[in-house]
């Protein structure tokens, strides 16, 4: 049987881990198979969690989150017969598949949508904890905004510097109000549970918000402009489906293979005009073909469009 291990945020984090869980469940529903799962409570438990499943014979074992990179690198060699999939990090081993996402590309698209939806040319970004990954989101987003409107202002805030920043909707609300009073009328939240407060306050104040990771359009219908999708669910689903034959090596999930994207559904169809759609589709094609390069913050830890 396959197994999935979630990161510290827990499987119900309304975004990243939850997406992994959704993918695993979809697989279970479709195939009738069963899978094992576990949540950890401490960094020290990572190695143990992997080993526990490996010893119990689960295969493949999928782990969600970049922090698994280091422990997996030590453990993988001990279990050459087991296939591992790691999401969001690259581990170089003959029995590991590394799945990374081009979040900057997806964020670029929602950035474009934000710029087009904005009336005043000021948009906001609210990140959770200040870590490189979230800066990657912010940087891609800012590039997308400026691509549509070079004069636009992007206000970026991080909620905090501890894991508590993922679960502080009150501060999320305050940041949202702060950004609105600086003129922002579209706000992208990449902040886990804190985002709940952002989406809520944006709806209360009659401005747009953008969700992240999973499709969060339903959370405040008519107010969430779109959601930046990071199809972790697909990555898990694919790994589970492939079973022990899972292809090892690096797999980049980008716009070209539906790894990232933006959400369009009944909740926001009236918000996204055809022009917006067209512009975004065009950019998608350009990015997929390599014609348009979105700068990845992680590549050199700088961002041409935004200061941190």
């Amino acid at each position: 049987d396959p197994a999935v291990i979630f990161d510290l945020g827990g499987k119900f984090d309304k975004s990243f881990n939850e997406a992994a869980f959704t993918g695993a469940q979809r697989w279970a529903e479709e195939t009738g198979g069963s899978f094992a799962e576990t949540e950890i409570t401490s960094d020290a438990q990572r190695e143990q969690a992997i080993r526990r499943f490996a010893e119990d014979g689960y295969n493949p074992i999928v782990m969600a989150g970049f922090s698994w990179g280091t422990p997996l690198a030590t453990v993988a060699a001990d279990y050459p017969d087991i296939k591992f999939t790691i999401i969001d990090s690259v581990t170089d081993a003959p029995n590991v598949r590394s799945v990374v996402f081009n979040e900057h590309e997806g964020s670029y698209l929602v950035g474009m949508l934000a710029a087009m939806a904005s009336e005043d040319g000021t948009v906001g970004f609210i990140g959770g904890m200040d870590i490189p990954l979230i800066r990657k989101f912010a940087c891609g987003y800012a590039q997308g905004v400026l691509a549509v409107n070079p004069d636009a202002t992007v206000i970026a805030n991080m909620t905090g510097t501890t894991p508590a920043a993922w679960n502080d909707p009150v501060k999320g609300s305050e940041l949202t109000l702060g950004q609105i009073s600086q003129g922002a009328d579209v706000i992208y939240a990449a902040a886990g549970g804190t985002g709940v407060g952002v989406l809520q306050t944006a709806a209360d104040q009659g401005v747009y918000s953008i969700g992240v990771d999973s499709n969060q359009n339903y959370m405040q219908p008519g107010s969430v402009l779109t959601s930046m999708l990071k199809r972790v669910d697909n990555a898990v689903y694919d790994a589970f489906s492939a079973g022990t034959d899972v292809e090892v090596g690096l797999q980049v999930m980008g716009l070209d293979n539906d790894g990232v994207g933006y959400a369009l559904d009944e909740y926001n169809e009236e918000l996204i005009t055809d022009e917006m759609k067209a512009a975004v589709e065009e950019a998608t094609a350009q990015i997929a073909s390599g014609e348009l390069m979105v700068h990845d913050y992680m590549s050199d830890e700088t961002c041409p469009a935004l200061d941190f």
Partner: protein, 328 residues
């Protein structure tokens, strides 16, 4: 440099919103500690109330019932604290730590068992939530307020548009002051925190006084928690109190266990927190761009500076932290 920017209406407005839960929790702690029962469990009580207020509001569709449930849950934890520290003369600090752990865990478990949404409640809407009270003629949307003139800004943003709990909190400070210093109950309460022996020999039950104080503490933290999940938010998220109980405790010591000072201390904390989410204003005021990390540390650094420079020694209620034992 534009120091006036520091008094931006939006920041002041945020100050009010952020100070309200701190103030309520701080006054809650004031009752308890003035009666001689130290309480580091404010955080946990706020959290459990935030959960039950949101959960029951959602189920009943009536935020007042939710508020009541939140208060009830917080009072239950208060009574537990009372049982441990008053009846069984246990260590008050340990009891408080336990309550914080308990609330942190049980809210998620209960939310998961109840709603299956990963330790949070569904979003609240309509009557399941405290709506802002809008003054006549006041604007409600920040984007409109921004365009209005100064007077309108103050009226619409700062004065209008808060929830009923926030307005009530304004009256609570004089009320607490009055209860503490002008009523029989207050006299006895203060006495029991200073010298329970005096209260006991005056024919008043020390236990009853302390239990009443602890219950009031539960009610006020309950309101504070409910304010978070049903007032400024529309639902419960795990750990959503995010350390506010500890900050309230710091404010209480800062305020030297006095009600008006508590208002000042919590407003200061609220202000610093509100300012910390506006790097743009800080930049305007001091001319330097400040990083997230600096912003994050700012309220705490300033608190230490204020504490070291201006506040001096705070003398806690003399019998605080100790159980009352007649027969040593």
């Amino acid at each position: 440099m534009d120091l006036l920017a520091l008094f931006d209406i939006a920041v002041l407005d945020g100050t009010v919103r952020l100070a309200v839960p701190l103030l309520l929790a701080c006054l809650a702690g004031l009752f308890s500690e003035r009666a001689g029962v130290f309480d580091i469990g404010l955080e946990g009580k706020m959290l459990i109330s935030a959960f039950f207020a949101a959960a029951v509001s959602f189920e009943t569709g009536n935020v007042w019932i939710g508020l009541f449930a939140g208060i009830a849950s917080s009072v239950v934890l208060s009574l537990l604290h009372g049982l441990a520290s008053i009846t069984f003369r246990g260590n008050q600090l340990i009891s408080g730590v336990a309550i914080n752990f308990f609330a942190s865990g049980i809210t998620v478990i209960a939310a998961q068992a109840w709603f299956g949404q990963g330790g949070r409640t569904p979003s609240l809407s309509g009557d399941a939530r405290f709506d802002p009270i809008v003054f006549p003629g006041a604007l409600t949307k920040i984007r409109e307020i921004m365009k209005a003139d100064w007077g309108m800004k103050v009226y619409s943003e700062l004065l209008s548009g808060h929830t009923i709990i926030a307005y009530a909190a304004i009256f609570i400070v004089p009320l607490v002051w009055w209860v503490l210093y002008r009523t029989r109950f207050g006299l006895r309460l203060r006495a029991v925190g200073e010298n329970p022996g005096a209260v006991d020999t005056a024919g008043i039950s020390v236990q009853r006084m302390r239990y009443s104080a602890v219950i009031i503490c539960g009610v006020l933290t309950g309101i504070a928690g409910a304010y978070l999940s049903t007032g400024i938010q529309a639902g419960f998220v795990r750990e959503m109190t995010a350390g506010r109980g500890y900050i309230a405790l710091a404010a209480l010591i800062f305020a030297k266990w006095r009600p008006w000072y508590a208002l000042g201390a919590t407003l200061l904390f609220g202000y610093l927190q509100a300012l910390a989410i506006r790097p743009d204003i800080l930049e305007r005021a001091i001319g330097i761009k400040v990083q997230t990390q600096v912003l994050d540390a700012l309220p705490y650094v300033l608190t230490v500076i204020v504490l070291a420079g201006f506040v001096g020694k705070a003398i806690p209620p003399r019998a605080g932290g100790e159980a009352y034992v007649k027969e040593r």
